[in-house]
Symmetry: C2
Subunit: 427 residues, 2 copies
């Protein structure tokens, strides 16, 4: 890890730089697969599934029988853990429901706001060695609570044409309506345009590699919304001598094992704590099965010694971490004044992995500094707000002349006329 | 107007097609101006202001003196109208404030969600003949209520280097913190990268022509968020014999005068109403100063006679109108079952122009069918939600083993380890 001692503000930009991603070179591939899927649907999707996932499928759809079989192949212990996580995630996301906001802004002018579910959503769950069933919990539970009618899930099959049983178990548990054995660019293209098998959706959620990320960006050009722009995962810990160095090290490592481009940062006013954490990382990293990945991302990462809390806070707000652990005595100072962070974990007994799996908060969070302007996924991500208004005869008489004046000043006579006609009819 | 009688569902796609926009040919121009602004800041912005707005500026910033002068040049009547609109918009958007959502999902596992303001936002207000001060009300009022620290406004100057006084009056009234005489692509690029004068912002709001629209799309590639993708304005009216045909015609025309690519649609179960509205449009259109524009967009527009309410509703949800007037006896059926619309106007005395200016609702709304997945601008558009969690010793003992099991099943040993270490320390 790179150790940085009391950096000047002018160096922050450089210090807080994230591992860069180049996407322009893969845009051409993504563009061409999108065009093919748009033109030829399932045929093209099967072609790329054969090419990338090394399996020839007759049908892209997961059957009821496959789901039943999967249910039998998940251990009871894991089922119980998933059910506990589901219960917590449901509680936290249900609590986010808002009621209709109604107000009479002037006598006879009633305005209200209501949220309604996005009717069709698509969830993308990556494949690979680690089956990310936890991401299904994080996406399908709020989709179901929001009332989305169609919840479509795409995930790449293994070379034998099967899907990990924990993924199928979790998907059916959380109310996913259709599951497809399709991954990568072709999955995003399928949900963007719709094919013979896969429905076109209005919004696509979920993580993925660089190809999936670029494909989701491209989907927005075709009128589909996405959860948020994606980047490598990251964790910033601010800690002082009240923090347990072994715990801090374990949190930094849990982030570092995600991928070689993950970034972890420790900010502290205590040189002693920094030294102790460094030592603990060395102790713990040896034991990890994914030590090689962790070592690479730890290599990109930073231990930053700062002068005081104020400087720490400035640096944190400038960075806008996705995951943010606060383990300091002066806790409330950090909590009140941090403006840019995705999800905040407080104190010695709150590891990031709690939020990744089971505490109830969502783990789909803004990376890459996007915490400055994007929310993590929450119940509202699956809804949109609509406004309504109803004006009575008395209402238009009260508000009419203001509208007439403003419309005229903007040079929009027909806008004025729509009011004038109504006012005349009431004379 | 094109009259369509009881169309088949298979023809809906064709009937509901919006006027198309081609953007690829202007992407090159936008890209190149972005690169120049990124490299050379104010110098480039001034160059393009000279080229596009035909004025050589020494300073891009609007001064206090200019704002004071503007205040003197807005009539008292218009000021009163603007103030009334401001009061209603404030009331409606204040009512949207949400409180902290806090829940103990399990004993000792406290999770909460808080919304915090986006610190720096940019508002773009187009120039041209019509000074859109109403859009400042719609963007700056919620930005201020949300608590955004920097509210930057860019708008193109007249050839004499001045800004319309109603724009300056409204901007200072609503708490805009800095105003710049910059328009078009160069304004969006300036707020994306920051220049010597213009601050870099985190999210850009506001309407504009095709160049501005493409520039906002490009801004998202550089890490800036935008309010929503834009398209031509549109209105769908559903009306029956309970509607006043003259009022309906005036609403359709108020939408039609926006631009030649505006789209207006009337859906009705009543042939009689459709005929009467058609006649009224002919009567009213002659009197409009913008009759030529209105005639062109009326040419693109449709009167659709449908079999029954159910078919009307299906068609409306498929279209997802930006503005949506409901003027029928069976009002509640439409209100309850419309899932996709930006803003809804109900009954004979609720013209669209009320929401455009003064009733309190926002007029920055999803066009182009985006009402299926995007909200119109509201208080939350200027905030992002952050989640927090604090787990006690007892909490981690309750939830720990579920996290361990799930992390292990996903192959993430370090995630498990962060919990195991803590559990061991408590034994």
């Amino acid at each position: 890890m790179k150790k940085i001692v009391k950096p000047n503000k002018s160096d922050w930009d450089e210090i807080l730089k994230r591992p860069t991603q180049t996407v322009s070179d893969i845009e051409a591939v993504v563009n061409s697969i999108f065009k093919e899927v748009k033109a030829d649907g399932d045929t093209v999707i099967k072609k790329y599934t054969a090419q990338f996932d090394k399996v020839a499928l007759d049908s892209l759809s997961v059957t009821e029988t496959e789901i039943e079989t999967a249910n039998g192949n998940v251990s009871d212990a894991l089922k119980q853990a998933i059910n506990l996580a589901k219960s917590n995630i449901e509680k936290f996301h249900s609590a986010q429901k808002t009621t209709k906001v109604a107000i009479e802004t002037m006598p006879g002018v009633d305005c209200w706001q209501e949220k309604r579910p996005i009717q069709k959503v698509g969830l993308y769950i990556p494949g690979g060695t680690a089956p990310l069933f936890s991401t299904i919990l994080m996406l399908a539970i709020p989709a179901k609570l929001a009332g989305c009618k169609e919840i479509v899930l795409c995930t790449p099959p293994y070379t034998n044409g099967e899907i990990n049983p924990a993924i199928l178990y979790t998907a059916q548990l959380c109310g996913v309506t259709q599951i497809f054995k399709v991954g990568g660019i072709q999955a995003i293209a399928g949900m963007t345009f719709g094919t013979e098998s896969i429905p076109k959706v209005y919004k696509i959620f979920g993580p993925g590699n660089q190809y999936v990320t670029v494909a989701k960006q491209l989907a927005t050009k075709y009128g589909v919304a996405i959860d948020m722009p994606a980047g490598p995962s990251e964790l910033l810990v601010v800690a002082d001598d009240s923090a347990n160095p072994a715990f801090v090290a374990s949190d930094l490592l849990s982030q570092a094992e995600h991928g070689v481009d993950s970034q972890v940062i420790l900010v502290s006013t205590s040189e002693k704590l920094i030294g102790a954490v460094e030592e603990e990382i060395e102790n713990q990293i040896k034991e990890l099965p994914r030590a090689e990945i962790a070592r690479k991302s730890i290599g990109n990462s930073k231990l930053i010694l700062v002068k005081n809390d104020e400087e720490a806070l400035g640096l944190i707000n400038e960075y806008g971490p996705e995951h943010y652990i606060v383990c300091v005595e002066n806790e409330s100072y950090y909590l009140e004044n941090t403006m840019n962070a995705g999800s905040v974990f407080i104190g010695n007994y709150t590891p990031e992995s709690a939020g990744d799996y089971a505490s109830g908060t969502n783990h789909t969070l803004p990376t890459n500094g996007y915490a400055k302007q994007y929310s993590g996924v929450n119940l509202d991500s699956f809804m949109k707000s609509m406004t309504f208004q109803k004006i009575s005869e008395k209402g238009i008489q009260g508000i009419g002349s203001a509208i007439e004046l403003m419309a005229e000043a903007e040079g929009l006579q027909a806008h004025k006329n729509a009011v004038t006609l109504r006012l005349k009819s009431l004379k």
